[in-house]
Assembly symmetry: C2
Homo-oligomer: 629 residues x 2
């Protein structure tokens, strides 16, 4: 091995090939990469060489490669909506330009806590033709083989690594291989967060390969679930639940909160013009791709999918993809997103909150959710505005950030070019309007995931077209809040058309709807103004078993037209008494040309609240106005 | 408040006074520091000014000051033997020279997770006349008010902040004050490690203010202790213990391992010529002072002591002081160290371990214990040697580090100036012999702490003189290991004289001894060579209830003479059958002129093993040779 490394160092400078018009290519075949058990150091060295010598393409010979964290470089990363920390990576794509990584159809298998790709401060990068998987999953999966309603216990059969101790069940992550690990690693695994107590549990149905219908009734506490190992691989769980899970269902847990989003597959930060093409993410211990403070990102056949024959139920333990503080255009096309423990995508900004008013020009702002510690809200030159905490509306004109001074991972001081005197209160939000993305989401499939298909919160033009969507909660959520997550901003040109939506909202959570447009006001009975504008939902085919199809709150210019809605009998409705369409505090709304085939043969219902103005519901509407009832 | 800040900014540049011969002084009185609820930002700004304007002294008007973390700057710190992480600080003394901080007798009260002083890359720094305390302690203290041996439970009365949930007891740390905290902080406190599950428990005796006699028999598991809140402040604990704690004792817990050493009072790194004088550390959520990779440190009346009238039982949750990878001279004089949850001091280096042999000149080395993640073992130019994992002896001559490349917090590549071919095996240690300290420990008091008084592992000259020592485990531990902690190096000129030692080793742990000189061999029955040299223990007065006084293993040139030993009846001996003096594998040993007053009137016993050579036990020895028995 040491001679191989030596040889590598000598030969690496000789074997950079030229392909095409002066583009240098480095093929890892020439480094005998296939001979190594752990290819991390080889790839890291190759990348260094690529950068130093201006190589524009790194190619893998087709094969299966294992990446271990032991010799991986690391970086302290603050990753919004994921867990911060010192992260090991095999692909430190930091400060690269005009660079292609071509896996040539290879399978990349990762071991332990790693972020396969960290892409930062880079431009014009393509990652293509590879798949990402982990040897040991970041979830525990246990088949329910027995239940006992008398003792309120159920038994699970577990094939994924686990530990039972202290009367608790822990999923057990793979640790790096080192002398320390071999001798002492297991002793500290719990405190080092490699044994994660089961928490954030959910039950899956192997027949549908999706979360159980009415999942919510099987909720378990996040800490304190009692466990006893009956025999190797057979564990008795004892806990308080509304309803015991059915035999044959699968208990899934990703472990402790704030420890179960350590390892996204792709971390993108401060980068521009990126393409991910023909990439399969079979698993990740966080999101599939999280892009932050970046510009122009294209996912083309970037699939978050189960590996065939893997027997696993879960792909990513969080969202398949997620874009925060991104500008330019996000393009997602020809992708399949399945079996995630969270949404297919979420495109949004993040409001920061006013912690303190320092003077007429300067605020101390804080990031709010622990998953936003260290969040880079803005930089000098960005255009921002203050958002009223009650009505979620701007209280200022757009202003320019003159100065941003980070104090710590929670607090920054930001200074504006204009005075904010009397325009701001403690707890108000600040929105960065420079960093919102346009988006095209086309020809994608979403299925069998916990949570939503698409969350879209951006005032730039967004088109969602020809997707086939089925998710456990709302298919679309269009929201914004100055609560816990502080997701900005409002939509202001959103077209949702020609999609096929099949049996979403089966999780039993509320409030849900196929189209859930619900800015989260502090007081649901006392707010004013419109949050979003120009939302058009047309020509979609919506097959759904439950009642709620559209909840639109505080939209100016809403069009809901020519949708073909068919009630299915896939499941029994969970919320049968909710009106099919609810229009709350909207203005300039048009509801027309929709059809609705209800199982009971009756017309659909539409509720229009008193705050709504200038609404046109066509006479031949599929929906009968029930507002007065 | 905002106007005060503004005024401060203007005035700060005007009011730098001159005292003495051109030395600039900045007195915080002129900033109305006494008016602020949270002085952290004021102090941080003042320090910035001091650096920019070459101020050499920062003075506090005498008073009580509160330091909050909310607006504190932060730094990612890797602190050996403590917990790494992003650390907030009020005194970022980074890159300072010739600087004095004079508290003028002030009390500094810290809130939440902070490191009061981070001193890095600085030279000639004095910190004086101040005390450090925390509003909310990093421990839970619960008075045992009832026990029930039938149900194996006991009840504790708790006045420190706590939470009972999930049938567990958590100590509750103070969180920063912010809108987020007010609204959501408590919801995530457990996952954010502000609620720490009781673990690392120990029972204290309020009568002696020290750990209970034979503490070990009251050991509790580190996780999984069941708890039920009977009424506010009264908690029933149910767990497996060898013996239930006595009524009137106090259960102390610092919470989960790897989360209970976040907040030392002083972090010192890469600094030189430091003095800490008239400083009281009343509490800290880790060590009182941890100095690393630094040179010449003097503690003069640096006291880790309970605050009078505080009702607390615990000062620091780890060692009072700790010096690792320090060179020059460590001087500790006129200090009191009491009621720590760990040692009074530990002066040592840390062996790194060979993870992989890269080539004839280069090794991949790893740090071992999780508390050594990111440990800076050495830099280019340091002199090091390889240590055999079995016998703990050098296998090479001293070599120069030509290159050090950090790969991640565990692994570095180090390159030597000479080949190491055939001189090294995987798992061997590497010792940095450039960074060992001389030390003078004089006129100090150690009492009522868990664990040891002094751990000394350095080959430079050390004198320990005129101290008054009483600790729960060994008074002195002189060791070294290539096990879990990897503490280096051997002693090679240690003089322990004129100390008064009173009733140590009452914890019931083994192996203990007043003087415990025990290199930790992998195989206790198969080793060779001498680990340490030139250890002289003389003219000490040793009052001890238990049997073991000296265990000396693998010492060349051991002198144990003119010590006055008196057996007390303070406690019943825990290990009465251990020989009073045990000499194992020593050479050139002299045992003479000691007196030993045993309660049974008999002579003391000395055991000399067969490996020991050239030993002289004076004929009028206090100890009868029992080796043949």
């Amino acid at each position: 091995m040491r001679y191989l490394l030596k040889t590598l160092l000598i030969s690496i400078s000789l074997i950079i090939g030229f392909s095409g018009y002066g583009q240098k290519t480095l093929n890892l075949k020439d480094f005998d990469i296939q001979k190594y058990k752990d290819v991390t150091p080889i790839v890291v060295k190759a990348l260094k060489k690529c950068k130093e010598e201006g190589v524009s393409k790194l190619v893998f010979p087709k094969g299966t490669y294992h990446f271990y964290p032991t010799f991986a470089p690391e970086k302290y990363c603050e990753i919004t909506n994921n867990d911060n920390g010192l992260k090991r990576t095999a692909f430190p794509i930091i400060d690269f330009n005009d660079f292609v990584i071509d896996g040539n159809g290879s399978d990349f298998i990762f071991h332990g806590k790693m972020i396969p790709f960290i892409i930062e401060e880079s431009k014009n990068i393509t990652v293509t033709n590879l798949s990402i998987d982990w040897k040991t999953p970041f979830v525990i999966e246990g088949l329910v083989v027995a239940i006992d309603s008398k003792s309120e216990t159920f038994d699970i059969k577990v094939e994924t690594p686990y530990v039972v101790k202290f009367n608790r069940l822990y999923l057990s992550l793979e640790r790096e291989d080192s002398p320390y690990e071999q001798r002492y690693g297991k002793r500290f695994a719990t405190w080092e967060h490699y044994n994660l107590e089961v928490g954030q549990n959910i039950f899956w149905d192997p027949k549908t390969m999706a979360p159980l219908y009415n999942t919510k009734q099987y909720s378990m506490p996040e800490i304190g679930v009692k466990a006893k190992e009956l025999e190797k691989g057979l564990i008795r769980i004892s806990t308080k639940m509304k309803k015991l899970p059915p035999i044959g269902s699968v208990m899934v847990s990703k472990g402790e909160y704030l420890q179960n989003r350590t390892s996204p597959a792709f971390r993108v930060f401060k980068s521009k013009d990126l393409e991910f093409k023909n990439v399969n993410v079979h698993h990740a211990g966080a999101m599939g791709l999280i892009a932050e403070r970046s510009e122009n990102i294209t996912l083309n056949s970037f699939n978050v999918v189960l590996k065939k024959g893997s027997k696993r139920m879960i792909t990513t333990t969080a969202d398949a993809t997620h874009f925060c503080n991104v500008k330019g255009t996000v393009t997602i096309k020809n992708c399949i997103f399945e079996n995630m423990l969270d949404d297919a995508t979420n495109i949004h900004g993040t409001y920061v909150r006013v912690n303190k008013i320092i003077n007429d020009y300067t605020l101390a702002i804080e990031t709010y959710h622990p998953h936003q510690n260290g969040y880079l809200f803005g930089e000098k030159g960005d255009i921002v505005q203050i958002i009223d905490q009650k009505n979620l509306l701007p209280t200022t004109q757009p202003m320019i950030l003159k100065k941003v001074e980070r104090i710590n991972e929670k607090i920054s001081y930001i200074t504006f070019n204009k005075p904010i005197t009397n325009k701001v209160n403690i707890y108000d939000g600040v929105e960065n309007i420079s960093w919102h993305a346009s988006a095209v989401l086309e020809n994608n499939i979403v299925r069998n995931n916990r949570a939503r298909s698409f969350l879209i919160s951006t005032p730039r033009k967004v088109v969602v077209r020809k997707n086939h969507l089925s998710s456990q909660m709302a298919t679309f959520r269009i929201t914004g809040d100055l609560g816990l997550w502080n997701e900005s901003g409002p939509c202001d040109d959103l077209l949702i058309e020609d999609n096929l939506i099949e049996d979403s909202v089966y999780g039993g959570n509320r409030p849900q709807s196929i189209f859930l447009i619900d800015p989260q006001y502090r007081d649901k009975n006392d707010f004013k103004g419109k949050y979003s504008r120009k939302i058009t939902i047309r020509n979609n085919t919506i097959k759904t078993f439950d009642s709620s199809i559209l909840l639109a709150m505080s939209v100016d210019e809403l069009i809901f037209e020519n949708n073909k809605i068919i009630q299915t009998d896939t499941y029994k409705p969970i919320f049968p008494h909710i009106e099919n369409v609810r229009i709350i505090n909207c203005n300039n709304a048009i509801i027309q040309g929709n059809t609705y085939q209800r199982l009971d043969g009756r017309k659909g219902s539409i509720l229009i609240d008193k705050k709504t103005t200038n609404i046109k519901v066509s006479k031949r509407s599929a929906f009968e106005d029930v507002s007065s009832k």
